[in-house]
Amino acid sequence: MKPAPFDYARPTNVAEACQILAEAGGGATVIAGGQTLMPLLNLRMSQPFILVDINGIADLKGVSRIDGGTRVGPATRQAEALRDSTLAQHLPALVTALGHVGHYQTRNRGTVGGSVSLGEPAAEMPAAAVALGASIEITSAQGTRMVKAEDFYIGPYMTVLEPEDLVTGIVYPDWPDGHVVLFREVAQRTGDFALVGMVGALVLEGGKVARAGIAWFGMGPTPIKARQAEAALIGKALAEIDPDAVAALAVADTAPFDDHHASAEYRRTVGKRIFARTLREALDLRSAA
């Protein structure tokens, strides 16, 4: 037995969950798939008084179409999202990123919302939410609010979530059919957190980039939106785009650090390469088509 003792509650609806969270006064932790939380409990890095298990709340599971976008229930398993036909059609970049989250066995239990709301800076799901312009639906006993993913992350494993908050949905805006998917990551082993990675989408209209959403992971304390690169791409004809120059702008927005896996310099160098290569491949493909 490794974790410190805790109570356990399994509410069956959102109101009940929010009430437990409010009453716990900061002593509660939400568990969905537990693929990140259980290690933290076992290492006693997390010691809640009460664990609130949201796996029994049917409203928090599944993928649905809403006006202008797609809503993913936070307790949807990563493996189910990976197989979901709605996501495959509307959010191919998210599905591509999902295939790189953890391993077969952890995707079977881990949830989309768990990964989004924990905010591991090297994880794919937070960066995909930022890149694609998602909003996080947050509910507490006080009511429901929407926070844009780019405003949601404030540091490693730190978000704007208050202890009494529950993530009740992730809403991704629509990207038109046939948009370009950008994804690449470098990890030491399959399934490891990435050393460097990028994910995004581009919309081409009349041979020009009409819309761009790109974010980095593993390149700073939070997922980082490649704002300068997006701005440089929008309005450009494919032939005018210099992938190396755009990649340099993209890296300029990052704040990578040294750790025992890789140096900041390595991350910047490799990040620039993978960004340029991913862009080049995606655009070549388009101009050839």
Binding site: P5, F6, Y8, M38, N42, Q105, T190
Partner: protein, 157 residues
């Protein structure tokens, strides 16, 4: 610290027990029910030794609480062979190809491969190898495991 009554089925046998909330499924299977075929090593989701099947899906039993398995059907490595002792084809392939040395990682490996093949009996070598990224073999017996996988995929081993 709360205690909870749970009912679950393990390898076809029904069990009822009272568990402390913080007990992991893996620990409960081993210490509570005696299914010591499931191995716990890292207990933080890295090694895969503890992999069991929960309602048909392979997952880490160290990353799930016993109380969360209430009402579930679990298969552990003990449930793979037939009651008469005939090995599951995954176990036979591992045996034929020296796909284990100390055997510590093997229960998890066998559950993963058996589950991949259950979901897709014609799974390819690549599909099985991809699922194996979730397992660490500390004896580094990977080539034997890969030979077993090729045999299971019907390729010349």
């Amino acid at each position: 610290m709360s205690e909870h009554k749970i009912d679950l089925t393990v390898n076809g046998h029904r069990h009822s027990a009272t568990v402390e909330a913080r007990t992991s499924l893996g620990e409960f299977l081993r210490e509570g029910l005696g299914y010591t075929g499931t191995h716990l090593a890292c207990e933080h989701g890295v090694c895969g030794a503890c992999t069991v099947r929960v309602d048909g899906v392979a997952m880490r039993s160290c990353l799930m609480l016993a109380v969360q398995a209430n009402g579930s059907e679990i298969t552990t490595v003990e449930g793979l062979a037939k009651p008469d002792g005939t090995l599951h084809r995954v176990q036979q392939a591992l045996k034929d190809n020296f796909g284990l040395q100390c055997g510590f990682c093997t229960p998890g490996v066998a559950i993963t491969l058996a589950t991949v093949l259950e979901d897709n009996p014609s799974a390819t070598t690549e599909e099985m190898e991809t699922a194996m990224s979730g397992h660490i073999c500390r004896c580094t017996g990977y080539q034997g495991i890969r030979r077993a996988i090729r045999q299971l995929a019907g390729e010349a081993a």
